[in-house]
């Protein structure tokens, strides 16, 4: 495969390899096959202590999917010459789908590598890794869904394994409780989501995103109420997946109680998955509603949710004592930032692509820095040191490199200049301002200033405070966890010079949706 290939490009140059059209969903297929392979291995050789085998297979699978995705992204699959649709248009592969698949697969790879240490001595490794792969598969499917039917089905496909994964520590009450809450709110939200879809079907008579948009082209006069309720309920379903107010209630508990690698996975990849469908559905199907009469101003609804989410997440995070729960709330706050990508859209606005692209770039960087932060927590849980800020005091004396990585994550999450997180937040706020939503940017800037307070508490605990004698338990170096944390930190730092490329890709992908 030395030649650069363009999948199904209409005007392929003679030297380029042209792959059949169906190969565009190769990343999805790889993830599915990996999950099924894990189940098969477990069925054929049951009872073997296969933690290492399973981790290896899963890591290989997600890295293979990542490689193919990045290759497609570079080669222009679904971008040059328009998006590729499959299965009677129910599936679409374009720049945005590939961009987000890259996020999911890289987060999954990090989490798998970290889980190898975390799961040492646990039973049911096969279930863990297969569920993880299936959840990733569900997210990848969400990214390529082009019909409300596939959106709903793949959203469930991502949720179901997540419920089980949150409750993976079956004998830990925190894990079980968080799993229950996650599941119950999830079930309720998916019922709301399904009802919203049914109402949209009621007014348009179709589920394909492009057909729904066509159904709205003539306006909503006569049934604005039904359409509006449907649209807002669909927004609610996405708010659940992205942990946005008022569907966020499961998040602090689920992230706190779940095994830390799963918290990392859910708060980074799952959130991004919620955003990719929300971006696609709203930008493809519901744009005509913004200037219809009577108007269904869902962008304003997202603006309200974004403001409330930013404020609530950051304020609640500022007063936490438990580091993991603090990160959980901060993750809610970041959902608020990414919501700006929807809130700042306007009918026919020239900045729509920039705004959404900036939100996508933020989610990419967030994927690395937030996963890294939670994996650091996983490391601390692995050592059994404790959970509060005081327990973290002086950890840098025992684990300087991991603590340095954590400092990078914290400052980057806070959006301090010189780390990737600053650029992405800056691009986001700047594009919101140019789209005329300066007040969203202002709320974002003020809440991220507040966030610096609680993020720097972690750095202070790690680097400045003295150990209080509970660090003797640290007697081992979990290689996989270390590798994952350091890799995430390197990626966060490398996204500093690499940010222009990421932003450019994201904006191109987002602009294609509005073309």
């Amino acid at each position: 495969m030395s030649a650069v290939s363009i999948v199904n490009a209409a005007a392929a140059a003679p030297l380029q390899v042209v792959l059949p059209e169906w190969t565009a969903i190769a990343p999805v297929l790889i993830l599915a096959l990996t999950g099924l392979l894990l189940l098969t291995i477990d069925a054929i050789w049951p009872g073997r202590n296969g933690n290492t085998t399973f981790a290896f297979v899963s890591a290989l699978g997600s890295l293979a999917a990542l490689t193919v995705t990045v290759w497609y992204l570079v080669a222009g699959t679904g971008q040059v010459g328009g998006s590729i649709t499959l299965f009677s248009e129910a599936i679409v592969v374009d720049g945005m789908a590939l961009f987000f698949t890259a996020i999911f697969t890289s987060v999954a790879a990090l989490v798998v590598v970290a889980s190898h240490d975390y799961l040492a001595g646990h039973e049911n490794a096969a279930s863990y890794y297969s569920l993880l792969m299936f959840a990733t598969l569900g997210m990848a499917l969400m990214a390529v869904s082009n019909s409300l039917a596939t959106v709903f089905v793949s959203l469930e496909m991502a949720s179901l394994p997540s419920y089980a994964l949150v409750g993976f520590l079956k004998k830990n009450r925190g894990s079980v409780e968080s799993s229950l809450k996650y599941f119950l709110i999830g079930a309720l939200s998916s019922a709301v989501f399904a009802f919203g879809i049914s109402l949209v079907y009621a007014v348009t008579g179709s589920l394909l995103l492009s057909e729904v948009a066509a159904g709205f082209d003539d306006g909503v006069a006569g049934f604005a109420g039904v359409a509006g309720i449907g649209v807002l309920m669909i927004a609610g379903g996405f708010a659940y997946k992205t942990a946005s107010v008022p569907f966020h209630f499961w998040a602090p508990e689920a992230y706190e109680g779940a095994p830390a690698p799963i918290s990392a996975f859910l708060s980074s990849a799952s959130k991004a998955a919620g955003f990719v469908v929300a971006f696609r559905v709203f930008s493809t199907s519901f744009m005509p509603l913004l200037d219809a009469t009577p108007a269904i101003d869902w962008a304003l609804a997202f603006a309200v949710l974004a403001v409330v989410t930013m404020v609530l997440g950051n304020f609640a995070a500022a007063t936490q004592e438990n580091v993991k729960r603090m990160l959980a709330y901060s993750s809610i706050g970041h959902a608020g930032y990414a919501l700006i990508g929807l809130a700042a859209l306007t009918a026919g606005g020239p900045h729509n692509g920039d705004v959404m692209g900036a939100a996508m770039a933020h989610l990419l960087i967030y994927g690395f820095m937030n996963t890294g932060a939670f994996l650091f927590i996983a490391m601390v849980e692995y050592w059994g040191v404790g959970r509060t800020f005081e327990d973290y005091a002086g950890l840098s004396t025992k684990a300087p490199f991991a603590s340095l990585a954590m400092a990078v994550f914290m400052f980057s999450l806070a959006g301090l200049p010189v780390f990737g997180g600053f650029f992405s937040k800056y691009a986001l706020f700047a594009s919101a301002v140019s789209a005329g939503f300066w007040w969203l940017a202002a709320v974002g800037a003020i809440t991220s200033a507040l966030s610096l307070y609680y993020y720097s508490r972690v750095v202070k605990a790690l680097w400045i405070e003295q150990p209080n004698g509970n660090l003797d338990a640290i007697d081992s170096k979990p290689t996989g966890l270390y590798a994952a944390v350091i890799f995430a930190a390197v990626a966060t730092v490398l996204l500093l010079p690499g940010f222009p490329i990421a932003l450019e890709t994201a904006e191109a992908a987002a602009s294609a949706l509005f073309a």
Partner: protein, 100 residues
Amino acid sequence: MVPAQYYLLLSAAVFCIGLFGVLTRDNALYFLMSVELMLNAANINFVAFSLFWGNLTGQTFALFVIALAAAEVAIGIGIILVLYRNFGSVSVTDAATMRW
């Protein structure tokens, strides 16, 4: 033919009855059943408007919703089972140790 609004009213009523159950019952199994009711409210719309629009999209999708509801129950029962082993009850209010 029955006006379309009647179907919508019926489904809204079923949806809110399900929601009422969710909000007022502590037993996790009741919670699950109520959610099923809400999903079926969506199915009423799908089937009714399938006829209204003269296409089969809604009816077919209703089957998928039913299948997903089954999958959700499977996972849900599993979680409730584990909940019972840990907390000695299936009440959703007992598992309330993490908060704030």
